[in-house]
Symmetry: C2
Subunit: 193 residues, 2 copies
């Protein structure tokens, strides 16, 4: 087990409906020391890739992406989930459906911050059915930029997102992949990597 | 002028309606090297305060808070702006009104992540009329925790938030305070600190 799998086993809480609560260290309270280890590990796994910029999505991707950016020495752009009156001018817009919130969101990135030919590392906290990720990929592609890699903290390997993204040929690295989880028995099986 | 004031003067864009766009380095694209200097400066300004935890609010406070946390060696909690099906159990809830979005939001923090007696540093990107900040202070107070300090990147000194918070006796530090701005002439006056 790696450091993140150990932490999930120790502090994660499995709930009915395939919900894994990791809010004590990942997506509500955030353990910055843990994020530093994740950033180092992303750097190691994407050592061969040229990365110009990190793209993430609000809200829980932002902390992981900002700490990871210290290891890549690049700026971070976060996609916004709703139109703000402070964003104007031309924007890239993709429709995404949220698993946890059971609603559709528009994901928005200002055109100023993604340029043709840039090599983008997409970072997010969770990958389940992959809808948010599809939105981010479609925005990078629309910008004429290159998806150099996709770094995820926790992938629900029993949902379709990861397989589909890998089938499409993207370099996807998930620090922990859960192949099985069960709220009643507390069973939690990580994929060997 | 300090490093943040210089950056605002160089890359900030003043718009009608007292809007200052800093989305190229602060709250859409994020310059992590700049955030590191801000984190160091917050550490210097709050050197006398014991800090156990940083509290911020999604989305644009998160990156600044996470990088700052590296200088305080504490975890970060971010308040959420809408109820998520992944949050359950008891929560602290405050109503806040957003200046930029012209709407009311509920600000929510899980009770698990704020404890009586904890010393909390609140960090956010902007302070204007102070509504978001009032919500965060009310949550910290409700938890029986202590507002050890409030660190803001950019304060609009011509709006009431900062004066009111200082009048209430809080230790508020804003890295840049704008006393005057004008979209037509491009005039931008920072308060001497």
């Amino acid at each position: 087990m790696n450091f993140l799998e150990e932490r999930i086993r120790r502090d994660g809480i499995i709930k009915e409906g395939n919900v894994l609560k990791v809010d004590s260290f990942l997506n509500h309270q955030m353990d910055i020391g843990l994020f530093e280890r994740m950033g180092e590990e992303f750097r190691r796994r994407f050592a061969e890739e040229k990365i110009d910029k990190i793209l993430t999505i609000e809200a829980s991707g932002i902390g992981i992406a900002c700490i990871a950016a210290r290891y890549f020495h690049v700026p971070v752009v976060f996609a916004k989930k709703s139109k703000s009156v402070n964003i104007e001018g031309e924007m890239y817009i993709a429709e995404v459906e949220s698993f946890t919130h059971k609603c559709k969101n528009q994901v928005i990135v200002s055109r100023k911050f993604l340029s043709p030919g840039e090599n983008i590392l997409i970072i997010d906290d969770f990958l389940a059915n992959g809808c948010a990720l599809q939105g981010l990929i479609s925005i990078v592609t629309e910008a004429g930029a290159n998806v150099a890699g996709i770094g995820i903290a926790i992938e629900k390997g029993f949902q379709v997102g990861g397989r589909m993204i890998r089938n499409l040929g993207y370099h996807l690295e998930s620090l922990a992949i859960i192949d099985e989880m069960d709220a009643e028995s507390g069973k939690l099986v990580f994929r060997e990597q």
